[in-house]
């Protein structure tokens, strides 16, 4: 099969890009691949919202830029931060035009939330299910576009490069080119190849590498691994953001249930296996210390005792107060046999977000020709060493847009796909690159 624009991933990055290229080139074919159901993405689970400067009386681009740089702890690319903050506002307006609803005040202004690390209120949200709302709006907009073919249950195996034409490709090879992908169609159980002059990788995060994660089962880092196998550049993978308190449920596949930090704000106390309220040993603010300190303290207690969890004690809450503030948490705990008024809640840190990824430039271009990357799988330089809350959805839209502009211009210049005699009859049989090399 052949297509004009190939997109891997149906989260916010992939769908935003697909909509834009389809709109700009109505006579071209856009193919979007996704490995399970179309809406099963990290995007769907985003709760908090999307950051953007909306109220220019109180807030400013400079403040959002400064907050992002502080979170990134010296490692952000300032130029990229400026791009994302300034262009982000237009992207938010676009997704509203495409039909996403964000909560509003009575006077019609957007309700703006404030999150850790933000100096002003600037988080647009849709109740606590912002990602689901954005995913819904995007999928609906996609279904109205005649030239987009969304193929679900298509598992991408590898990107096709000169390697598959029999050439030796190493890290030092200049001009590695991407011609499309090999995909395992899970409906027919056949392996197919899809050729395309331009490919966008928007394959999301990799939280599943850890025992506990807030990411759904699809988040296995496929895109990063494929690009690494194809000798593309990967950057800053050590920066994994953890949520300090997810419900500890051994052996679950998929994501762990989040126990919001607001429970500690309301008086929940962290205890170790011995029942000791350990936070007072780490910080005078005890359970209300900043997230990093709490996360490290929990990690340390688990390491010392050699256990997989600590406990959050809410037994002193009245049932009425707890169920009023945290009805979902109450129900969820009860469903696994934990009555929070009698038992402590087992909690554990969970992998939440990957700051690093496939290295891209300011147009979303990877080190492999004709291959773009956007969203969580990409490393644009925005997050640096730590992500500011609610910047990731914004980043995905800004770079999907920038890649679309570059890709549409490029398609006109590109020659046809290579064809000729020298075809290596293989996808899989080539020796896989050893990670040590």
């Amino acid at each position: 099969m052949q297509t004009d624009f190939l997109v891997i991933g149906s989260g916010i990055a992939g769908l935003t890009y697909a909509l834009k290229v389809a709109e700009a080139c109505p006579d071209k074919k856009v193919t979007v691949l996704t490995k399970t159901q179309s809406d099963e993405t990290n995007t769907k689970y985003a709760q908090g919202g999307i950051a953007g400067v909306m109220d220019f009386d109180k807030d400013s681009f400079d403040k959002h830029i400064e907050d992002t740089l502080i979170a990134g702890d010296g490692l952000c690319n300032r130029h990229v931060v400026e791009i994302v903050v300034k262009e982000g506002v237009e992207r938010i307006e676009e997704i509203i035009e495409w039909g996403a609803n964000f909560d509003k005040e009575k006077d019609g202004d957007f309700k703006l939330g404030k999150e850790g690390g933000h100096s002003e209120s600037r988080i647009l949200h849709h109740k606590d299910v912002t990602g689901r709302e954005m995913e819904r709006a995007l999928l609906e907009a996609i279904s109205r576009k005649k030239n987009i073919d969304l193929m679900h249950h298509c598992f991408v195996l590898d990107i096709i490069t000169q390697h598959h034409l029999g050439y030796l490709i190493t890290k030092a090879t200049p001009d590695v080119e991407c011609y499309g992908v090999y995909v395992l169609n899970l409906q027919t159980n056949k392996t197919e190849k899809i050729l395309s002059k331009i490919t966008m990788l928007a394959s999301g995060g990799n939280g599943q590498v850890y025992r506990s994660t807030t990411n759904p089962a699809i988040a296995t880092g496929d895109g990063v691994a494929m690009v690494y196998r194809a000798k593309g550049r990967i950057e800053n993978m050590e920066f994994i953001q953890f949520h300090p308190t997810a419900l500890y449920e051994p052996g679950i596949r998929g994501h762990n249930f989040l126990i919001t930090e607001a429970v500690r704000g309301d008086g929940g106390i962290l205890r170790n296996q011995a029942g000791e309220a350990f936070m007072e040993r780490y910080d005078e603010r005890k359970d209300l210390a900043p997230r990093d300190i709490v996360a490290r303290a929990i990690d340390n207690e688990m390491k010392i005792a050699g256990t997989e969890n600590v406990f959050l004690d809410c037994r002193h809450f009245s049932k009425e107060k707890f169920t009023e503030h945290f009805p979902n948490i109450y129900e969820k705990c009860l469903s696994i046999g934990i009555d929070i008024t009698k038992h402590m809640i087992p909690v554990t840190p969970a992998a939440h977000y990957s700051c690093g990824g496939i290295k891209t430039d300011e147009h979303g271009r990877t080190s492999i020709k004709n291959l773009y990357a956007a969203g969580e799988c990409a490393s644009t330089g925005l997050h640096g060493a730590n992500r500011l809350a609610s910047n990731s959805l914004l980043e995905a839209m800004v770079f999907a847009h920038r890649a679309y502009i570059d890709a549409v211009a490029k398609l006109k210049r590109l020659k046809t796909l290579p064809s000729g005699e020298l075809w290596w009859e293989t996808g899989k049989q080539m020796a896989p690159p050893h990670p040590k090399k």
């Binding site: 490692l75 496929d222 993978m237 340390n300 700051c355 990670p435």
Partner: protein
């Protein structure tokens, strides 16, 4: 044109346990050794274990028909390797990366590219 995916000489995996057990091992070792707080000893141990998982999984990959489970395992091993390798290269504690053997920050700002 580009060649089709080749399946000659491969068979369906006989036992899923070969895959699911490796996934479990991978997740455990990453959470226990490469979680929030890291040190050189833990990173070194993680790498040794990843090496074994890598060797076993590549051997399985070469002789079985591809399945999403096997491919995801393979991808997760690569991603875990990249996380550990980047963590080993960073001789400082910065942002989300905290290594008790290098508690301070280096003056030189460095992106680690593999």
């Amino acid at each position: 044109m580009v060649g089709d995916w080749k399946t000659d000489g491969t068979t369906a995996p006989k036992e899923m346990i070969l895959i699911t057990q490796s996934v479990k091992e991978l997740k455990l070792l990453m959470s226990d050794y490469v979680g929030i707080v890291r040190n050189n000893e833990r990173l070194h141990r993680a790498m040794k274990r990843l090496d074994l998982l890598y060797t076993e999984t590549e051997a399985l990959y070469q002789k079985t028909i591809v399945s999403p489970q096997l491919c995801e395992l393979r991808n997760m091993i690569t991603v875990a390797y990249l996380i550990v390798k980047c963590a080993e290269f960073r001789h400082e504690s910065r942002g989300l990366h905290f290594n008790t053997d290098y508690p301070g920050k280096q003056e030189m700002i460095q992106n680690i590219v593999l």
